[in-house]
């Protein structure tokens, strides 16, 4: 299906958002503490603002969800269609990463699969960058290149809307209030994208993922991590906001709905963090119950997973340069500084 660029005028944005498919529509909004997602309708839609502080994994891998019940699947939550508006390129790339994890490998995760199928994705070009953004250093761009249903590029009068899927093109083709986007608007899009790449230029060389994969390999228990472990307070904030961190743990709980299954039990999965001491602790009373008893090893495992293991596992770097972990770190650490310092001490 041919993908035609169209002009969505600013005063028609709400009509556009109302036309999106699904039972829910979550848009990026401006809040007192930055950008986040909220259910539309909302008065604070922010498509020309920083990327949201929270990652979009929450929509595909909720922090806590029922995944099984003894015996049978009665009462598992229904997954309903929804639209997600305001995704940045790093968000779309995080889905590419999570797709490798949850749709690839030996079997699919049925819950992730169902949410992926239920989601209609509307992305935007980044405008302006966060102070912590460094996507161009790890091979990203501050504008989407694929993986969306519709992308919106901000221009003076509104947005240039382009479909990235047949579903997106069908939707755009059915909206009577969209106008043809002339060449001058496409020129504006290109100019804005170039200026964003330029704005990110100071960060562009701040980390080299190929070099990091070489210099960090084998540093699992290296003492060069020690000073960084000294700053880490083991809060797990970096893993919570990281769009590619996906560790979870499965626990047993009382049944999903006691009225449907009285006395029954169910399985819940919750987000987890590889930085926490108990994360990999095994049962027993032996000498070494966790493979990473030291914080420095847990810290190195997280960073190595991004830069060394992920390229092996999924063919892509696990760090997308979104800078969310830098923003969230209570110890004031920056992942690029760690990569640089440890890599150069070997």
């Amino acid at each position: 299906m041919q993908r035609t660029p169209r002009l969505l005028r600013e005063d028609r944005l709400s009509d556009f958002l109302c036309a999106l498919p699904g039972d829910h529509c979550f848009v990026s909004v401006e809040t007192k503490s930055g950008t986040d997602y909220a259910e539309y309708p909302t008065s604070s839609t922010a498509l020309r603002f920083h990327r949201p502080t929270s990652p979009i994994k929450q929509f595909f891998l909720p922090p806590r969800e029922h995944i099984a019940a003894y015996w049978g699947a009665q009462g598992l939550p229904e997954i309903v269609p929804f639209s997600l508006v305001g995704l940045r390129n790093c968000d779309l790339l995080s889905l590419r990463y999570l797709d490798h994890v949850f749709l690839g490998g030996i079997c699919e995760d049925p819950f992730y699969r169902a949410r992926r199928a239920a989601a209609f994705l509307v992305s935007v070009d980044c405008l302006p960058p966060q102070k912590t953004c460094f996507c161009t250093a790890v091979g990203g761009r501050p504008y989407p290149e694929g993986g969306f249903d519709i992308n919106l590029s901000p221009v003076d009068d509104g947005y240039v809307a382009v479909a990235g899927s047949d579903a997106g093109e069908s939707l755009l083709a059915g909206l009577p209030f969209l106008e043809d986007a002339g060449d001058h608007l496409l020129g504006q899009v290109e100019a804005a994208r170039s200026s964003m790449v330029e704005a990110l230029a100071p960060a562009a060389g701040s980390v080299d993922p190929d070099r990091a994969a070489r210099t960090l390999a084998g540093t699992e228990v290296n003492r060069a991590w020690e000073p960084w472990a000294g700053k880490c307070v083991e809060c797990g904030a970096c893993t919570a906001v990281c769009p590619t961190c996906h560790c979870y743990y499965i626990i047993d709980t009382p049944g999903i709905d006691p009225e449907i299954q009285p006395g029954a039990y169910a399985k819940v999965r919750t987000w987890d963090s590889c930085l926490l001491a108990e994360y990999a602790r095994m049962a027993g009373a032996g000498a070494k119950l966790t493979p990473r008893p030291r914080l420095r090893s847990r810290l190195s495992n997280r960073v190595l997973h991004k830069y060394v293991y992920s390229p092996d596992q999924y063919g892509m770097c696990g760090c997308l340069g979104c800078g969310r972990c830098d923003e969230a770190c209570l110890g004031g650490m920056k992942i690029r500084d760690m990569v640089d310092a440890v890599g150069s001490q070997r």
Binding site: I250, D252, P254, N301, H305
Partner: protein
């Protein structure tokens, strides 16, 4: 979403029989509602409703997918609860999970099996398989170490194993009692008496991490190469399908790529042992 598409959904199983093996180890015999066809070395998650799940490798023959034996040391929340179960109890099984032992590579090879403590349990599933295909493999040597004579696992079977042609069995204990006439010391003391070709055999080992360290060191000294050695690695697991991130050694997830790992694959990661 259909039930069978959900890898987190356990299959119901009934506990048919419990065998006391040692003061701390019992063998649980389960009859699952559906057969669980497994390769030796593959594991299952045993799910105790309301308590949780933990990974265990069957100790029974892979040729009996309807009657699965799992030999379990009492050591944590799930295993404490298991040890309290009586025959008739209902629980869940997820699996089989993992790759299991490289059973396609056994043909024509001498096999060295090195176990420590309850680590002999998953190795017994391999032994049953090896005994079944005995005419296709070379010599089989089993070296086993336990803390004390009363902690020796499956001791009623040692005699049956030893009389099989081409099979040698020897055991050692760390702490003997006065009646103990066998070897004393950790399992590596048995590795000085190996009558098979260490340059071409395959080694399968299961036991505590510290044992692996010394077993590997000794085998390499004796001339074995890392590629010949398979270790049943221990890590905490949860999903069992390579997604939850917990059981990694470098880029490998033991639940998906193991738990029996070729030592050559993992030796480069500094936090292996």
């Amino acid at each position: 979403m259909t039930l069978h598409a959900n890898p987190y959904e356990p299959i119901a199983a009934r506990l048919a029989e419990v065998v006391d093996e040692t003061p701390t180890i019992k063998t649980f015999i389960f009859t699952p509602d559906e057969p669980i066809p497994f390769v030796s070395g593959q594991f299952v998650q045993l799910c105790l409703p309301g308590i949780g799940e933990a990974p265990f490798t069957p100790s029974s023959s892979p040729r009996e997918p309807n009657r699965i034996e799992i030999t379990i040391l009492r050591t944590g929340a799930v295993t404490e609860a298991l040890h309290r179960l009586e025959p008739g109890a209902e629980l869940g099984i997820r699996g089989p999970l993992g790759k299991g032992y490289p059973v396609d590579e056994l043909e024509g090879k001498d096999i060295l099996v090195v176990g420590g403590g309850v680590g002999l349990a998953p190795l017994r599933a391999l032994l049953y398989h090896l005994f079944h295909i005995r005419d296709q493999v070379g010599k089989i040597e089993i070296k086993y170490g336990a803390r004390s004579p009363e902690e020796l696992l499956f001791r009623r079977q040692y005699g049956q194993w030893s009389v099989l042609p081409g099979v040698r069995f020897s055991a050692t204990v760390d702490v003997p009692h006065p009646q103990w006439t066998g070897r004393t010391g950790v399992v590596t003391v048995l590795l000085d008496d190996i009558q098979l070709d260490l340059k071409s055999c395959l080694v399968f080992s299961c036991g505590p991490g510290v044992m692996f360290k010394f077993v590997v060191q000794k085998l390499l000294e004796l001339g074995a190469r890392p590629e010949q050695i398979y270790l049943s690695m221990n890590r905490r697991m949860s999903c069992g399908i390579g997604k939850c991130g917990r059981c990694n050694i470098g880029p490998y997830y033991l639940c998906k790529d193991g738990p029996d790992m070729n030592y050559a694959k993992i030796m480069g990661y500094a936090d292996v042992f």
